[in-house]
């Protein structure tokens, strides 16, 4: 099946049954899933109808869709891999920032003179001289010969503030007489209302059961291990190099050039390796701004990477929110009436979209989405923006409703997912159920009400994501006379294994071993590539790599055709040689010999995105088995299962790593993570990695990742759906284990004990 055949998953709202018009000559229509306002919608797209490379039958693939060790693994395990943090250049200065200690302040005066006199300090710049509106905003930066001296310099900066009254929490911001954070505009904004309240109220009257609740979602931090930062190397003249820890190589040169007074082509961005982004690392940022200014002023390379506290305070977060949901179902299990009122907490920003209902489609619904501003850093995109929040509330509501009508929550889900993806979700849910032991579980239609002290429960949840790619990448494959092959793309690798699949796709096409191909990435002088957001990198890049490799192969065939006297159509690449497929045993040429005959000019081929090699729209189901101790409130996740459709997988092992990682990040979100702010002092109390807890080795149970091979589409991308449902499945498992519905993350022992106590009293 090719692209556009919508068999795998996803696709909520099909815009039209047929294409809007007949295809133009040389074009064809395909159905693709686009995420619009966080919800996936099928739309028709007109693409070139050209014969090009195909991935071929999966069983014929030799490298792609197999377990491939990363080609840069040895660099990562030996410390040879150079991250932006690790760049060391002659004469390089280390920079540190001064953060404003007040959530809201006008700056009366900043005096850098004393700082500039500190031994070792090379220079200092002011980043903000007027007003600060969120906790922790950097206002000045100091560069010195060592990080320690830069810290000394930061301590010597003198600032006088006019401290303003602040509203650092939604409660403060919503209170009567709260200061207006954005000029004269209200702190609360209404983004969307949809549906007819009266009609929904009437629909509730027809329901066999109605449930409601308010789900409270804390602000989560990306907590990338490599903090945000750059090394700007500009020593005057007309060229500069910017090493950046970024998700978008090509998001750097333009902005850096403007800061340095150069043009984009004069700035080279380098992203050799990067230590995690998860949505927070696009563009130059405050850190890049500071480094460009210091480097330009000092005429030396400047290393400006945030320290951990600044990373927490000034480098983004996942928006929190409050979701009030109410739903009713018929006794047959139809999700009939729904009300969702969402308040997003996005700091000085609007927060990511969190429009309910997530995935499931009630017959009658009313939805309202608002946001409230606070004096905290704006939220940024974070792995599947908005989805984990929506999932946590919606999946909880769904389980409550299924128990209220005495129905197995798995069957209730199957019944209420969108029709066009029911087959996929049902297959995935049943596989999760099998692996997690649901079918033998005693409490499938009601939570365990027994008096046992230690109880085990199971919960489920679903995910959806658009993924897919676009015509964003240009890839080059070079073949040299010595037989070596290079594949070049400016794209970055966030840890997904970009180098490895570039190598594999090219080696596969040319009939070589992976060791004969080297991938060069992460440099803006190579072919353009999209920034890594929305799980679109692989679906954009892999088809372009395939196309470049196919073009390189065809060029080789033209060249070999005359050498062997065989028509191009009869040639094939296999086992390190090019052979006549009609007479492979006697008429062939070794790869090295064919390349030697190319001469010093070698061969170069380009590739671009091929729509038919990609697809879009993925689902995914996850289940969690949790043990709760009703006496101590201890919650232990024993087992998580994820079944994920991904289209054609590039590297099965790396994809399982992604799915494992998604589930573990969701577990961490569900059980541990929460930004804590003192509302009076206006300070974040846990801007460090011991008080802001993330999951470690001992908190995770068995994690089982299954790639759904029933999905036979092209390349899609699956990193985001992997992180969506885990915390919801865990909350549902706690409910299943003991009847306690925890509606506020993180799901901690104290909350469980309080809920159990409330149930006893009730």
């Amino acid at each position: 099946m090719g692209a556009g055949e919508f068999t795998g998953a996803a696709g909520a709202n099909l815009v039209q049954d047929a294409p809007p018009r007949a295809a133009a000559p040389g074009k064809k229509w395909i159905k693709v899933v686009k995420v619009q306002n966080g919800l996936d919608t099928e739309v028709w797209e007109e693409v070139d109808d050209v014969a090009g490379p195909t991935w071929g039958p999966r069983e014929a693939l030799r490298l792609v869709n197999h377990d491939l060790p990363r080609v840069d693994g040895p660099d990562k395990v030996t410390g040879r891999a150079v991250y932006t943090h690790d760049v060391r250049l002659p004469g390089m200065a280390f920079a540190q920032v001064l953060r404003c200690p007040h959530p809201w302040a006008k700056i009366k005066k900043i005096d850098l003179e004393a700082a500039k006199q500190v031994p070792g300090v090379y220079g200092a710049v002011v980043l903000e001289s007027e007003e600060v509106k969120w906790i922790g905003r950097p206002i000045a930066a100091v560069a010195a010969d060592t990080p320690e001296h830069a810290e000394d310099g930061v301590r010597a900066i003198l600032v006088e503030y006019y401290v303003q009254r602040h509203a650092v929490t939604p409660e403060l911001s919503l209170a009567a007489g709260a200061p207006k954070i954005s000029g004269n505009r209200e702190n609360v904004r209404v983004h969307e209302t949809e549906g007819d309240v009266a009609a929904v109220d009437a629909a509730f009257a027809q329901c066999a059961a109605v449930v409601e609740g308010e789900w409270r979602i804390p602000v989560q931090h990306h907590a990338c291990l490599e903090t945000h930062g750059v090394v700007v190397d500009y020593r005057g003249g007309d060229s500069a190099t910017v090493y950046a820890s970024t998700q978008g190589t090509f998001t750097i040169p333009g902005d850096a050039a403007r800061k340095l007074g150069l043009n984009g082509a004069q700035v080279t961005a380098v992203v050799e390796h990067m230590g995690g982004g998860f949505g927070a690392k696009f563009g130059l940022g405050l850190e890049g701004d500071a480094a460009c200014r210091l480097s330009k002023e000092l005429g030396r390379p400047v290393h400006m990477l945030f320290d951990r506290a600044t990373e927490f305070l000034a480098a983004g977060n996942r928006a929190g929110g409050v979701h009030y949901l109410k739903a009713g179902a018929t006794k047959e299990g139809e999700l009939f009436a729904f009300v969702g009122r969402v308040m997003r907490h996005g700091g000085v920003g609007q927060g990511s979209n969190q429009k309910q209902p997530y995935i499931y489609r009630p017959k009658h619904s009313f939805v309202e989405v608002k946001s409230v501003l606070t004096n905290t850093d704006s939220s940024r995109a974070m792995r599947a923006p908005g989805h984990p929040q929506m999932s946590f509330a919606m999946e909880g509501l769904l389980d409550d409703l299924s128990y209220a009508i005495g129905m197995d929550p798995l069957e209730f889900r199957v019944r209420n997912v969108p029709e066009n993806r029911r087959a996929t979700y049902e297959r995935q849910l049943r596989q999760c159920a099998e692996l997690i032991g649901w079918n033998k579980h005693p409490n499938r239609t009601a939570p365990d009400k027994s008096d046992a002290e230690v109880k085990v429960g199971i919960g489920f949840a679903l995910a959806t994501w658009g993924g897919g790619g676009g015509p964003e990448c240009k890839v080059e494959v070079r073949i040299a006379a010595d037989g070596s092959v290079e594949v070049l793309s400016g794209s970055q690798d966030l840890g997904t294994g970009t180098r490895t699949y570039l190598t594999a796709v090219v080696a596969e096409e040319l009939g070589l071993e992976m060791s004969q191909v080297s991938a060069k990435i992460g440099r803006s002088t190579y072919g353009a590539a999209n920034a890594s957001g929305g799980s679109t990198t692989t679906a954009s890049l892999a088809p372009a790599v395939k196309h470049a490799a196919w073009n390189a192969r065809n060029a080789m065939f033209e060249h070999v055709s005359t050498l062997l006297g065989v028509p191009v159509a009869n040639l094939r690449c296999t086992g390190g040689r090019i052979e006549d497929s009609t007479n492979p045993d006697s008429n062939w040429i070794a790869w090295k010999d064919a390349c030697a005959a190319l001469g010093t000019k070698g061969l170069s081929a380009q590739g671009e995105w091929q729509s038919h090699l990609a697809a879009s729209g993925v689902g995914g189901a996850q289940a969690a088995k949790v043990q709760v101790d009703t006496l101590t409130g201890e919650i232990a996740v024993l087992h998580m299962v994820g079944v994920q459709d991904c289209g054609l997988v590039m590297n099965r092992m790396a994809t399982r790593s992604q799915l494992n990682g998604g589930m573990i990040q969701a577990l961490s979100y569900g059980l541990f993570e929460e930004r804590v702010i003192d509302p009076d002092l206006g300070i974040v109390l846990n801007a460090n990695l011991e008080d802001y807890k993330i999951a470690g080795c001992k908190e995770i149970g068995l994690v089982q990742s299954v790639l759904d091979d029933a999905d036979t589409r092209g390349v899609i991308g699956m990193a985001e759906p992997a992180v969506v449902p885990g915390q919801s499945a865990i909350a549902n498992a706690i409910m299943n284990a003991c009847g306690a519905r925890l509606r506020e993350m993180p799901l901690t022992s104290d909350k469980l004990l309080m809920a159990l106590r409330g149930m006893k009293r009730g």
């Binding site: 891999a81 991250y83 690790d86 291990l225 840890g495 011991e690 470690g696 080795c697």
Partner: protein, 217 residues
């Protein structure tokens, strides 16, 4: 806490009193770097010269990956910053992530024991053998742990990987037949934000098997 690492008890350092890091790290395995360093220095005091005072930038000699190296540091300079910013060539394998002993990305071995180099002063490493991730592969050949991490996809972004290589290497040196729980315990002070843990566990168990096969056990 039960001591699951027999050799940790053999260290000439007395068991340090309860500390934040021993809480995170678990029993003495990676016992508080600074405390161990001080205690063992005290134990070896007979051989050591009387107290040396370091003021301002001072040149000291460290033994790093088997070679002596002179580095200019301040008394406050951490071992991590000394390695990353003052060695020639810079040893940037150990990463600065939390800078306060929470995450393990800066793990190095001090006389074979894993420590947080962000919580160890460079001057406290004088006279001790420092092993960084750069010094683990002997003669360019990966050790069993490194090889297994590559084979089992035990790294994604890879920023935590050097720390895990050293924590697991030290664990398996003590106990090549370490169980999964013992491996988790040994790595309890190392964070991976990408969530690579399951594949790291697979790698550690495989490396243990490979080491036992090599050792003929």
């Amino acid at each position: 806490m039960a001591d699951e690492h027999p050799k940790a008890a053999d260290a000439n350092a007395p068991r340090p009193s309860f500390s934040r890091r021993s809480l995170f790290r678990g029993a003495g395995a990676l016992a508080a770097g600074g405390a161990v360093a001080d205690a063992s220095r005290a134990a070896a005091a007979a051989a050591a010269p009387t107290a040396v005072r370091y003021v301002g930038m001072s040149e000291i000699e460290l033994e790093i990956n088997g070679a002596a190296q002179k580095v200019a540091v301040e008394p406050r300079t951490t071992l991590l910053n000394a390695l990353r910013n003052h060695c020639t060539p810079p040893l940037t394998g150990a990463k600065l992530v939390c800078d306060r002993g929470s995450c393990g990305a800066c793990t190095v071995l001090l006389d074979g024991q894993p420590v947080y180099s962000c919580m160890t002063l460079a001057i406290d490493a004088i006279g001790r053998k420092v092993t960084t991730v750069e010094g683990v592969a002997k003669g360019g050949e990966l050790n069993e742990v490194q090889r297994a991490i590559c084979e089992h996809d035990g790294s994604m972004c890879g920023f935590c990987t050097p720390g895990f290589v050293l924590s697991i290497t030290a664990c398996l040196e003590r106990k090549p037949d370490a169980s999964l729980d013992e491996i988790k315990h040994a790595c309890a002070g190392n964070y991976c934000r990408c969530g690579t843990y399951p594949h790291l566990f697979d790698a550690a168990l495989a490396a243990g098997r490979a080491l036992r096969a090599k050792g003929g056990k």
